[in-house]
Subunit: 387 residues, 2 copies
């Protein structure tokens, strides 16, 4: 501390440049004093000095006056102290007390919008009285970016941590800070669904989904099953009125087909993917507060045509639709026997296959010849079924 | 700012020292993160880590937790997070929520009394469940010494200017900062009084006199005059109940004599210095708020004895006392003439001198001799007075 204080006298004229009549003083310290020439003695006539104060990014500059006594003149046209930030004039002061047209700084504290501030002093060729001048103090003040950053696109997604000279962001437990150091992404690409039905949602659904995330949800069923997706009516993905889903979107990859991108607030509804392997890709960018989506999936399988019931026989079970892996047992009325390809059977079973075809065509029912009998049960050689 | 943020990962383990079973991590940055081992994964068993955070003088350390999940145990005897400042234990935390006997940090913000803070983590040999640990953030915060320094003996005498990392003092217009960088002295040694009477006071009287000042007030009259000082009843100089004026005092130097030191609240009253040159020395130390003193001085001069009125003559003016520079004109009754040392005078004047003696003895009045006459007026040769 004492070191800081003993340094004080040294900080006043860190670098002085004389430019024509006006003298320019560069001040790069974190705090200091600016005063009129010869202070506390009266200031000389015909002097122009400009102090350019600059502090690092992440700071503003606070300036206030401890003494002020400058020759008064209408609109401060003779002698004055002006305070600028870059090119913007923040204040003009002269006199010993404020009037309708001229101001003195009094207890006013000036704050630079950015990290630079200039103080300009000027005295004209004559002073009717002797004026003692001014003494001003400045110091860098930390910007609380967490409080001041109101732009949603620049602010921290989850948590903002201010520190002297800067700030940083962090994320809730379970999230990771994106490389933009601002948004919080989730790990959302390790889901593989193998059940015949299920449900999944965007992370945090129905709360807004995480930003800056690329998620892959994979449904992987055995061959012969076809995945059907049903998007919930509650569907909300950031969109754009003219461009097709430029920010966030969900896509469905099913075999060679890609469906989407989908976004907006209209649910894509039901999608029959006609594939047993489906990837759902969800991308979110670094902004937006949209509520996401929910998918319920079911599996359907290949459908086989309803077989023609053989005369004098019947099918068990008798259905209007038959899907992959379903069986039909063919039996004949009493006095008739199953026969196919020259062989006779007590029972005959066919199965609906992956490709939507029956494992075999149905046998026929032939009138029994009482002298002959066969009791073997067989399936077609290409798809044998034992029971 | 972005630079600051990209530096963040690098600040975590600035210097790690392994001491026996416990690991010590030194953190000297202005901000950073401390978290349990493997975070956000569950912490391992049998670990002891201590993070010693230190920031420069002029700062305190703020610590707060963003996530906390430590195995609960009665009085946190198994796993815990402890926060220390030097040797003082500021907090002990464990569990997932606070109970009657154990605390979690929740939204509590811990502030180090000084510029160091330690966080200690310990896990015991077993965890019944998997606990995810903790994440804490710290940052240096500027101490506003101007607000916090309550000790009058250390605070700024007039104005205090806080800045990030420190502070400095300044003085009102007309005062100078003492080399202690804290108190404000006045320039008060350029007063020389040559009038026969006058008045002067401690600076700012009757408000408290400036600290750290050594003032010399000099009264310098021509020889033959004697200075009388009259201290006003309103007298207040910092004193001590046992020691004689160890802090502030006023002294009077008059010729070879030194009077004082005087202090306290009893006026020294009237002092006849018996000297024409008097120095009044006033010393104030760097503390105290005492109201000072006021001196009115007058001059008296050397007194000459009342001369004997010569028979048949008279003195003009006739007074009970005669002082330096006063004259007496001796005249004789009608029919008598002034005579001294064989010479005759119409008038005769004697003067009271510096040393309290008359410039000459008085002449005598002798009966006029009508035939002789002199009209010259003369003074004694040693001290001629013309009129």
């Amino acid at each position: 501390m004492d070191l800081m204080r003993t340094l004080l006298p040294a900080i006043l004229c860190y670098l002085c440049i004389s430019l024509g009549g006006a003298q320019t003083v560069l001040l790069n310290n974190m705090y200091g004093i600016v005063h009129s020439p010869n202070f506390p003695e009266p200031y000389p006539k015909e002097r122009e000095i400009q102090w350019n104060i600059s502090v690092p990014d992440g700071y503003q500059i606070r300036l206030y006056f401890m003494h002020f006594d400058i020759e008064p003149s209408y609109l401060c046209e003779y002698d004055y102290v002006k305070v600028y930030s870059e090119t913007e004039e923040l204040a003009v002061f002269c006199g010993r007390e404020s009037t309708d047209t001229e101001l003195v700084p009094a207890d006013e504290v000036l704050l630079s919008p950015g990290n630079v501030l200039s103080v300009a002093f000027r005295s004209d060729f004559s002073n009717e009285e002797r004026y003692s001048g001014f003494e001003a103090h400045y110091s860098a003040v930390d910007i609380d970016e967490c409080r001041d950053k109101n732009d949603e696109d620049l602010a921290c997604d989850h948590f903002c941590h201010n520190h002297i000279g800067g700030y940083y962001c962090s994320c809730r437990y379970g999230y990771q800070l994106h490389s933009d150091n601002r948004t919080c992404k989730v790990e959302c690409s390790d889901s593989v669904f193998t059940e015949h039905s299920g449900q999944f949602t965007s992370a945090d659904f129905p709360k807004p989904y995480p930003k800056s995330s690329d998620c892959l949800y994979r449904i992987e069923l055995e061959k012969g099953f076809l995945v059907n997706l049903e998007f919930d009516d509650s569907f909300d993905i950031e969109d754009h009125p003219e461009v097709m889903c430029p920010y966030d979107h969900i896509k469905v990859q099913a075999g060679d087909r890609e469906l989407g991108p989908f976004c907006g607030d209209r649910s894509p509804g039901r999608i029959q993917t006609e594939s047993n392997i489906v990837n759902i890709l969800f991308h979110s960018d670094n902004s937006g507060e949209n509520l996401g989506w929910k998918i319920t999936y079911t599996a359907t399988s290949s459908e086989c045509p309803v077989p023609i019931v053989p005369p004098n026989g019947h099918l068990e079970p008798l259905q209007s639709q038959y899907f992959f892996k379903e069986h039909i047992t063919v039996t004949c009325d009493p006095g008739y026997t199953l026969q196919k390809d020259g062989e006779k059977f007590e029972h005959f079973q066919i199965q609906c296959q992956t490709d939507g075809a029956w494992s075999s065509s149905a046998p026929i029912c032939e009138k029994k010849e009482s002298r002959r009998s066969r009791s073997s049960v067989a399936s077609v050689p290409t798809d044998p079924i034992m029971h």
